[in-house]
């Protein structure tokens, strides 16, 4: 490969904040003291924090240099499976900075916040339409928070019926957060194995589902990138035993305008606005994880809810069966603005096309790489495809080695060692915003690495060499944690 985009750049060193600066500097403009200084009881007064004093230039250089050690979607392709690292449109960022949005206080009388309420109200309607569900709450602050909301709703539903169920079914192809979210509601996870085809069978659910079980948490499409084709039959089994179907909607990017989650038996689901709806991931958040329900679960949604009355919007707490509040205010409004902008920019046709192209890109990669990488489930995939390092075992090269080498070629690695049902998994999700040329470069890079694994395995084992640092000693970090400086 001659045209790899990975190269060594001009990477500057930069110490820790407190290794620079000088007492007496200040990087912020302090307003004038236009009032007298007031007394303070010495017993209450502290020393103030031991922060380094830096000038504005010090701060600007510090973070500019740090940013240059980072890789983002704006830098290059980020095919992280199940994370939907699509392009984050810049106009969305602009909108959040509008004065009214940025400065809105959450507790003002609602007549002073109509613009915010209208946006949220309409966004709820759009998300209901896209998922085919009946009602939405935007309050959960991230995907796992949305899962928690969903589990609390299921718990409240059963409690309201006067029953107390103790278990929840979780397939081996579900997302990793699911068992922890269920545990917060006191549910014991019952693992369910997927079939040889990589999907859930009717029989396995029939065997596992009983009247002690609150429901099932299914990720659809699942983490193998496969559509759970028996979902309707599975839902019927779960419903017949009085259970509910929760869908982890993290992979919604595969099926916008193609599947109505409400029509295939899903009772409650969450979305990740920072995946499907183009809001940036921010190096680990903030996200937003709206929870969407069918009519029969609407009474349980978090409060406050937004009510429209003759073009005026108000908050209402008057939902006695609600699970309550999950967030101090209304959730991550700033993220909602970006999602709203995205949906309004795309419209129905482009959203559907985004899903189609995401699926096309993933299948294209699957076809192009299946000769060099082991493909454990060789069937049409949705928005992501999962390979493994099985063919490289004989060269003693692992998934980790290969993806570290991918960095030197200028790509962020895919998700690795997940899902657990595939040993040494390499889970690639290109998303629709990657062009064919860029995807071809990724394919060429993988092919080159597979070749290197045979001809020059040490080069792969010692990768990456072009980054700010080489492979880091994670064992030492965990044995002797150094968490503050």
């Amino acid at each position: 490969m001659n045209n790899a985009i990975g190269t060594t750049g001009l990477i500057l060193n930069e110490p820790l904040l407190w290794e620079k600066g000088k007492r007496g500097r200040c990087g912020i403009s302090i307003p004038k003291q236009d009032v007298p200084s007031a007394d303070i009881a010495p017993s209450l007064s502290g020393e103030g924090p031991d922060f380094p004093d830096l000038s504005e230039v010090d701060v600007v250089r510090h973070y500019t240099r740090l940013s240059q050690w980072n890789f983002g979607v704006d830098t290059g392709m980020y095919p992280l499976g199940s994370c939907t690292m699509k392009y984050n449109p810049k106009t969305n960022e602009r909108q959040t900075q509008l004065k009214g949005f940025a400065q809105a206080h959450p507790l003002l009388p609602t007549e002073l916040s109509q613009g915010a309420l209208k946006l949220m109200y309409e966004l709820e309607k759009y998300l209901a339409e896209i998922t085919g569900m009946d009602a939405v709450s935007l309050q959960p602050a991230a995907g796992a928070h949305g899962e928690l909301a969903g589990m609390l709703i299921i718990h409240a539903y059963h409690t309201n019926k006067g029953t107390n169920r103790s278990k929840i079914l979780i397939p081996d192809t579900a997302h990793g957060t699911n068992p922890a979210s269920a545990a917060l509601c006191g549910y014991k996870s019952v693992p369910v194995k997927s079939s040889e085809q990589g999907v859930l069978s009717k029989e396995s659910i029939e065997a596992a589902m009983d009247e002690e079980t609150a429901g099932i948490m299914v990720t659809n499409p699942n983490t193998l990138g496969l559509f759970e084709e028996n979902i309707i039959a599975i839902s019927e089994i779960v419903h017949a035993k009085g259970g509910l179907v929760y869908c982890d909607g993290a992979n919604m990017n595969a099926v916008m305008g193609i599947v109505n989650m409400g029509d295939i038996g899903v009772d409650v689901m969450h979305l990740n606005l920072h995946k499907t709806f183009s809001t940036p991931h921010g190096g680990g958040g903030p996200g937003s994880g709206p929870v969407c329900v069918k009519k029969h679960l609407e009474p349980f949604l978090p409060v406050p809810r937004i009510i429209e009355d003759n073009g005026q919007y108000v908050f209402s707490e008057d939902f006695p069966e609600s699970i309550g509040k999950l967030h101090a205010f209304y959730g991550n409004f700033g993220v909602m603005i970006k999602c709203y902008s995205y949906i309004r920019s795309m419209g129905a046709a482009n959203l559907k096309r985004a899903s189609q192209l995401a699926v096309l890109n993933a299948n294209y990669i699957k076809e192009k790489l299946k000769d060099v990488l082991h493909l454990p489930y060789d069937r049409p995939c949705m928005h992501e495809c999962v390979f493994s390092d099985k063919h490289q075992k004989s060269d003693k090269i692992t998934t980790l080695d290969m993806v570290k080498r991918l960095m030197d070629y200028g790509f962020h690695p895919p998700t690795i060692y997940f899902p657990l049902v595939v040993n040494g998994a390499i889970m690639i999700e290109p998303t629709e915003t990657e062009s064919r040329e860029d995807i071809d470069l990724l394919i060429d890079a993988f092919k080159a690495i597979v070749e290197e694994a045979k001809t020059d395995p040490d080069k792969v084992r010692n990768a990456p060499t072009n980054c700010k640092v080489q492979r880091l000693d994670e064992t030492a970090a965990a044995r002797n944690p150094c968490l503050t400086g």
Partner: protein, 443 residues
């Protein structure tokens, strides 16, 4: 559509490669009865310029400074944010990267979070801080769950002067587990009544907010001593961390866990979110902590570097036994606050905290001089309660017409506090604006 790079030719050739006749045919593995029959009903797509107009119109329908003068805090505070911090935060290498699971490619995020953990620890006087929780309310709920894990006791005591909305969130988190919450009443002084603490047996934690919801500084030290006597943990909550630029930190007063809202530290109010859950504790409890942690280590060449560490606490590894289900947190907000704390430095944050204190004391005495009652006399930071005479709603509405938002009516949160309003003053309010407020209220 400008976000979709595929040409018709690309699509045709790629379909050929995958052996599919059309884009629709790509979905052949989805059974017919699972397919959506009609198109999504959404508004038609907008150009970038149409979107700008739409969003401007929406945002103009929200009260904002400088047109409005707001004296409301209550967990969301108006502070100036330096242009430098806003500008740095928009660096797309930070904004568009994922959680730093691949440390060689995300040293920027990792070092920044390590610095954030350090600055937060120093601000709160604690030994270790995590990489953030969603907001102050969820941080407090997580802190109480952590206390229950540490002590293996299943009751907690929570002051009624913890932000009322935070207390609602705790109830939501606790409902299915059946853990018990006992509320501690408050005294006429505007402080938590801690006399009952000596009778509490088998409590995992006592949670007290300081400055509390009325802005008053609580006696955390005494609460801590009483709690520790009963082998109960002290969870110190807060909504306004700028207070610790001037007042004693929760750690120095004996807190086992300090948690609260960090929005004040350089994060726009944004209608309440995204905000920032600050979360810090004692090192001996670190394995019980929720959320991500970044630690220092070295690379193969011996060079200093940073990684996510102690991940075995987390949901993706420990699954149902994880210390929390949190995964995505509010990392970029944490970064914003680190930039803000780096900009103020130790000297600056003290001056700024002092200025906030002085300004609110100024307004307090201006109210007193105008004959308006200040029911809770103790020390406050930034916020305080005033008692208006009957018909206060009228005065509030009259000021609203003049685009002055005269505090937060406390009656919806504390039914016994009719005609009581919570006022907030930060560095953004000038003396002239405060004088005008008092004048309008007494006219």
């Amino acid at each position: 559509m400008r976000y979709l790079p595929h040409t018709e030719e690309d699509i045709k050739e790629m379909l050929q490669t995958v052996g599919s006749e059309s884009l629709d045919a790509l979905f052949s593995m989805i059974p017919e009865n699972c397919r959506r029959s009609e198109d999504m009903n959404l508004p038609e797509s907008l150009t970038e310029w149409e979107l700008d107009k739409l969003m401007e119109n929406l945002s103009n329908d929200i009260a904002a400074s400088p047109e409005y003068k707001s004296f409301v805090g209550a967990g969301s505070y108006e502070h100036y944010i330096p242009a430098s911090a806003q500008y740095l935060l928009s660096r797309s290498e930070f904004v568009t990267s994922y959680t730093p699971y691949q440390p060689e490619m995300t040293q920027g995020t990792l070092q920044a979070i390590y610095e954030y953990q350090t600055l937060v620890s120093r601000l709160l006087g604690m030994e270790v801080a995590n990489a953030s929780i969603y907001d102050g309310a969820s941080a407090l709920a997580e802190a109480l769950l952590m206390s229950i894990r540490i002590t293996r006791k299943n009751k907690v005591a929570v002051s009624q002067l913890v932000h009322p909305l935070y207390r609602q969130v705790i109830k939501t988190y606790f409902k299915p587990s059946g853990y018990e919450i006992v509320e501690l009443p408050y005294l006429e002084s505007g402080l938590t009544d801690i006399s009952g603490l000596k009778d509490l047996e088998d409590f995992a934690a006592v949670a007290v907010q300081s400055p509390n919801f009325f802005g008053c500084i609580e006696d955390l030290h005494t609460v801590g001593e009483m709690a520790h006597e009963k082998k109960t943990l002290l969870v110190a909550a807060f909504t306004e961390p700028l207070a610790f630029g001037l007042f004693k930190s929760p750690g120095s007063l004996g807190a086992d866990i300090a948690c609260g809202e960090g929005q004040s530290l350089g994060i726009p109010q944004a209608f309440g979110g995204p905000a920032l859950g600050l979360f810090a504790g004692k090192l001996k409890y670190v394995r019980h902590m929720p959320g991500r942690l970044v630690g220092e280590t070295v690379d193969r060449g011996g060079k200093r570097g940073y990684v996510l560490t102690l991940a075995t606490r987390e949901q993706h590894i420990r699954r149902e036994k994880a210390t929390s289900n949190i995964c995505t947190n509010n990392s970029l907000c944490a970064l914003a606050s680190a930039m803000y704390m780096a900009s103020t430095g130790g000297t600056g944050i003290r001056s700024l905290a002092r200025l906030n204190y002085d300004k609110s004391e100024y307004l307090k005495s201006a109210f007193r001089n105008a004959g308006i009652g200040i029911p809770f006399e103790g020390a406050t930071f930034n916020e305080f309660v005033v008692k208006l005479s009957g018909g206060s709603r009228k005065a509030y509405d009259r000021l609203l017409k003049k685009k002055i938002i005269a505090g937060l009516d406390l009656a919806p949160y504390y039914s016994e506090l009719e005609n009581h309003y919570l006022f907030c003053v930060t560095e953004t309010k000038s003396r002239a604006e405060m004088d005008r407020l008092v004048q309008e209220m007494t006219s």
